[in-house]
Symmetry: C2
Subunit: 227 residues, 2 copies
């Protein structure tokens, strides 16, 4: 039996690239997405298409009842998504309290239930290090906790939290995605897309994506950004 | 403003005792229960009543879409709950993969959103140490992870995972609950209650509760067990 992993799949290009990395390694990939009231529901449509296109063994979209949606601009329709804030070094307004902790906890539960040992996510700490739960020290602490939390861990199996893009620049991720054959047109990165799913072009995530494509010298079929 | 805590409230006597401990300390208590398809839904009715009776500032019941309900007898109606298995030293069949990790992750998200710093739960490692996610080493690892995961943690606030019953015997918990004025009749412990909520008297949890009451020399109004 192939080794398997749980992949946090957001619909963005980072987690899509992770899916291709995992498939190249021969892992059986169980993709996990969350419907947590995010304003960019186009993410979930992209996640579905990415999972289907790149051979995920299964794909779950778990409905999450996050406790306080008003705590982040990503889940509160009454707050505006900041624009042109990429240089800001504080924790972004798009931070969702403990989001990666909650996502990874669910991934761990699923992993233990089906015998998967790798928890993979597209976290990146280089280009956009404002999120505390994308830092290597957090991921290491989660892995350590996971191996104490679980029956599998106690019995000597090891869960691994894998963030293969952690130290890559966005340009490097774009290049890697291209090398692995990723169709970028089915990935979305925008925090504030239009109703029909088109990227705004001005939020942090659009700016970062645009910069990545330009530096990689690759055209982005989704945004129309050209190198 | 009173300091506040998020309390994992199951409807059992342990977490009910924790609520009274937190209230005695003057904490504002936000109780969090989960509807995760557990077979003993009477738990949630008890949790509601306990929260109301003992002055929780708020009570949320979050619907959780656990990934693989068949992984535990507590969530799979096709598996029988083991009886008279209390002496068994292996991890019990009632173990739900990563349950406390998922519960605490949600508690952390809510805590950060409302400015609470204490995450309290009724975990106990003495009488019933079969669950990996009730051990002090797990709770410490979760706390450490939580302070790396969050904006509040990065900014120097400290989350604390508090399990005030961790080292108490069930008899000591019963005595403490009685001392704090807990009405045991509105708490439930059974893993396999009848449709009208009556305890089976034979599952691990009933046996342990009965032993606790007997050793404490207190009658249990719910089960009818007398010292």
């Amino acid at each position: 039996m192939a080794s398997s992993c749980i992949l946090l799949l957001s619909g963005g290009l980072d987690s899509a690239t992770c899916l291709l990395i995992a498939r190249r390694e021969g892992l059986e990939v169980h993709a996990l997405s969350f419907d947590y009231g995010q304003r960019h529901a186009i993410e979930l449509e992209c996640a579905r298409e990415i999972a289907r296109r790149y051979g995920a063994a299964s794909h779950r979209i778990a409905r999450l009842d996050l406790a306080a949606p008003s705590a982040s601009v990503l889940t509160d329709p009454n707050q505006a998504v900041p624009r042109d804030a990429l240089g800001d070094t504080s924790i972004p307004a798009t931070y969702v309290p403990a989001r990666n902790t909650v996502f990874l906890a669910h991934a761990l539960a699923w992993a233990e239930a089906i015998g998967a040992r790798d928890l993979m996510l597209g976290a990146n700490a280089l280009d956009y290090s404002g999120y505390p739960d994308c830092r290597p020290e957090f991921l290491e602490a989660f892995e350590r906790m996971a191996n104490l939390a679980t029956k599998a861990g106690v019995e000597g199996e090891r869960f691994r939290v894998r963030a293969p893009l952690l130290a890559l620049s966005k340009a490097q991720i774009v290049s890697l995605g291209a090398e692995l054959g990723l169709d970028f047109s089915i990935t979305t990165s925008c925090y504030d897309p239009s109703d029909d799913g088109r990227p705004c072009g001005a939020c942090d995530s659009c700016l970062l994506r645009g910069k990545g494509f330009r530096e990689a010298g690759i055209a982005d079929p989704r945004s129309g950004v050209r190198p």
